[in-house]
Symmetry: C2
Subunit: 450 residues, 2 copies
């Protein structure tokens, strides 16, 4: 049985992309979005205005024919650039042969997807907040956020693409038996700031890098924008000292930044003003199960699996949900009764894995990338990967530059970690890291562990 | 500052007991209960009509002077009695010197607490469902479940004692920043059944025991009631084979019970009728953090920490919340700004621990208690505990017959487990289990591990 009439709640990145995929398959698709049409209003400052697109995301965009258009507005970042307290700079390539991740404007990407959805015949209603889903009747209730008028709509199938605090998922929590759910916050929050551009619109620091100021318990990062600015994010404890709670005045903020991020201070747009004007964001991981209710409703993207941003995979994972769902619809000839349980079966462990990897990577970014042993470890992995691409792939590459399911990447990464712990314990490893002795040691350990 | 006017949402066991404690301290206390006054209506069948009271619970009842009254209506259970498939019976004492847990009627206990609350001047409103808590205004909204009239109330401090699916906790989830929350279901559910009494009102099987039919992946248990009946509970997978899903007809239920619980079948009140008439219950563990919002609202009992029933500690833990809160009010002279954060700091790790122990104990009850090695292990622990009560206490005794914080009991239990694994690996342990060789081995392992 085909679901002819499909409703998607949430016209963010994943909801809009899903709408295009389903419309192209011939379904009647209606998108409902709580916020106004972002193509007609300004986006408020301070909320993740750029994103890192990588291979899983590109594949999903390729599937609807907009990969090249988006790549033109993306800025490739081929490496991490680390800024130490004393101004010293080190770098670490993300992949091999100049592989990179792309800084892309969330706004432009979302508007492009909305345009494409409409061009393909998707109906979109903005300012419609979903207040309830009555599953027994396949019925959605909305409240218009401009007129406060209430309305009701029906669909053969409903997707919840309404993000980390999804109304659809709350509905499942309240009305579905045996619904497993967790929302887990990091003790850190974030604050968006900005580096200004040069007068001629060029970037004041290296453009093709993701900049990190790792400071152990916290960090500053910067991603390039097309206009020469950088979006800068401080990831910082909510409580304790130092923390968002402990910095009370503009003078304290200025002093703190001058002490720990001295080379960043001259680049920042009005630091003290932005620090207190921009909101402090939270960092939440959401897991739930099941992801669907019968042949009526399914969750997708952040609604099913919100993750923290430290692997740059939140959007990429949501986009991969769409690719895999589309593949399954092909494979099962649009038999939704088969497709939806299979989508859940494949994607739930993948989403759990990237959720965990993203939390792990925070420690890597804010702490390890500042340590020489860590950089050596990554250098050895990169060198061995070049020599034996059939035997080894660094975890970061599996996640970012491959389509290996996240859960398989995680498992393989754990096995590789055990081997690298032993390699790093070899005497004088820093001198002989690219010797045949080390190469053979890794090869032997791979045999033992396989 | 004293909170003069205190509202408690939920007049179940914990809410009613808390009301008495606070009223006795001189506060104005109002209890709001969603259900009708249970003293005036019949309780529907099939929902845990008896409970196992142990030392933590008794202490809390002693504090309000009703320990003896309740003990009179309790039935001591001094041991587990295991029924194997071929009708063989084994037993395992719960503690030493006839220590026991008490089967008590939930209904009688709750009614007694409600009576005592009213006698002490607690105001109680029944049929009032809490629909919202507006924390900014210390305001509660209610909807009467008989008249559907809406009303509003205020209090200086609000307790959420409204159980595993607490409306107060949902309010925190929806409106409190950084609220960590998880609800996690077992893949098993439960069904209540009944053993009939003899014609003269006596029990048809041994009265002073908790009966278990352990069958590996599932189990049946029976707790004695005063009228000679037993409350019988089947803990059983929700899906798979066998499961609640796989037993479709009365004939299938009858055949299944006859095959795996043959000695229980003649004792059961109308099995087939009850099996399909009584609801299938779920088994959920709820964890959250924080447990309080400022000096305005706190969660207590299942609302803060719903656990599965396999350690018989759900009510005991909630009652201990009351004792500890009362102790803290004594210690800090009713300074709520100090007491509430301290209550959370002490009780959160304790509740997490008993939540985990309760899940672990399901495996012990449904599987291990049927195995000779397990019974030997418990026998060795009991024997060594008798000889060296200063050096060893079995985990079950720490949880059930002591006031050691649950988290300390769990940690000490883990250390003892490591030792017992080694003892059980000694050659011929089944022959020499009470020898001085084994005694000295345990003493030495305790030294090494301390």
């Amino acid at each position: 049985m085909k679901n002819k009439n499909i409703a998607i709640i949430g016209a963010g990145l994943v909801g809009s992309l899903l709408a295009i995929y389903l419309r192209k398959r011939g379904y009647q698709v209606t998108l409902y979005e709580r916020r106004p049409d972002m193509r007609k209003v300004n986006i408020p400052a301070g909320r993740s205005i750029n994103l890192a697109l990588s291979d899983r995301g590109w594949k999903a965009l390729r599937g609807v024919g907009i990969e090249e258009a988006i790549r033109k507005i993306g800025i490739p970042m081929t490496h991490r650039t680390m800024h130490s307290m004393d101004g010293k700079i080190t770098t670490q390539p993300y992949g091999k042969d100049g592989q990179g991740i792309y800084a892309v404007s969330r706004g432009i990407l979302n508007c492009t997807l909305l345009d494409l959805a409409e061009q393909n015949g998707v109906k979109i209603f903005f300012d419609e907040r979903c207040t309830e889903v009555v599953l027994a009747k396949n019925e959605m209730h909305f409240e218009n956020q401009q007129t406060f008028e209430k309305s009701t709509a029906h669909a053969d199938f409903i997707f919840g693409a309404d993000g980390a605090f999804a109304a659809t998922r709350l509905q499942m929590q309240l009305s579905t038996a045996q619904f497993n759910y967790s929302q887990s916050y990091l003790e850190h929050g974030y604050k968006e700031l900005m580096f200004t551009a040069n007068a001629d619109g060029t970037h004041r620091i290296e453009k093709n890098a993701l900049h990190i100021w790792p400071r152990g318990g916290y960090m500053l990062i910067a991603l390039p924008n097309l206009d020469g600015t950088f979006t800068v994010t401080l990831f910082f404890p909510m409580k304790g000292n130092p923390s968002f709670e402990s910095l009370h005045s503009k003078a304290e903020v200025k002093k703190f930044f001058s002490d720990v991020f001295p080379d960043a201070v001259p680049l920042l747009h009005d630091l003290e003003e932005d620090f207190f004007n921009n909101p402090t964001g939270s960092l939440v991981t959401v897991k739930c199960m099941p992801w669907h209710v019968g042949n009526q409703l399914a969750l997708i993207g952040d609604a099913a699996h919100a993750i923290v941003p430290f692997y740059g995979q939140g959007m990429n994972c949501g986009f991969e949900d769409c690719t895999i769902l589309n593949d399954l619809l092909n494979e099962h000839h649009d038999d939704w009764e088969k497709v939806i349980p299979e989508y859940e079966r494949l994607r739930k462990p993948a989403a759990d894995a990237i959720g965990e990897l993203a939390v792990d990577n925070f420690i890597e970014m804010r702490d390890l990338v500042g340590q020489p042993e860590f950089l050596l470890r990554k250098k050895i992995e990169g060198w061995f990967y070049e020599k034996h691409p059939d035997k080894w792939m660094p975890l970061y590459s599996m996640v970012t530059f491959s389509h290996i399911p996240y859960n398989e990447a995680q498992a393989r990464g754990n096995r590789q970690n055990v081997i690298m712990d032993k390699i790093m314990a070899m005497p004088d490893i820093e001198k002989k890291w690219n010797s045949s002795e080390v190469e053979n040691a890794i090869l032997n350990l791979l045999k033992v562990n396989s």
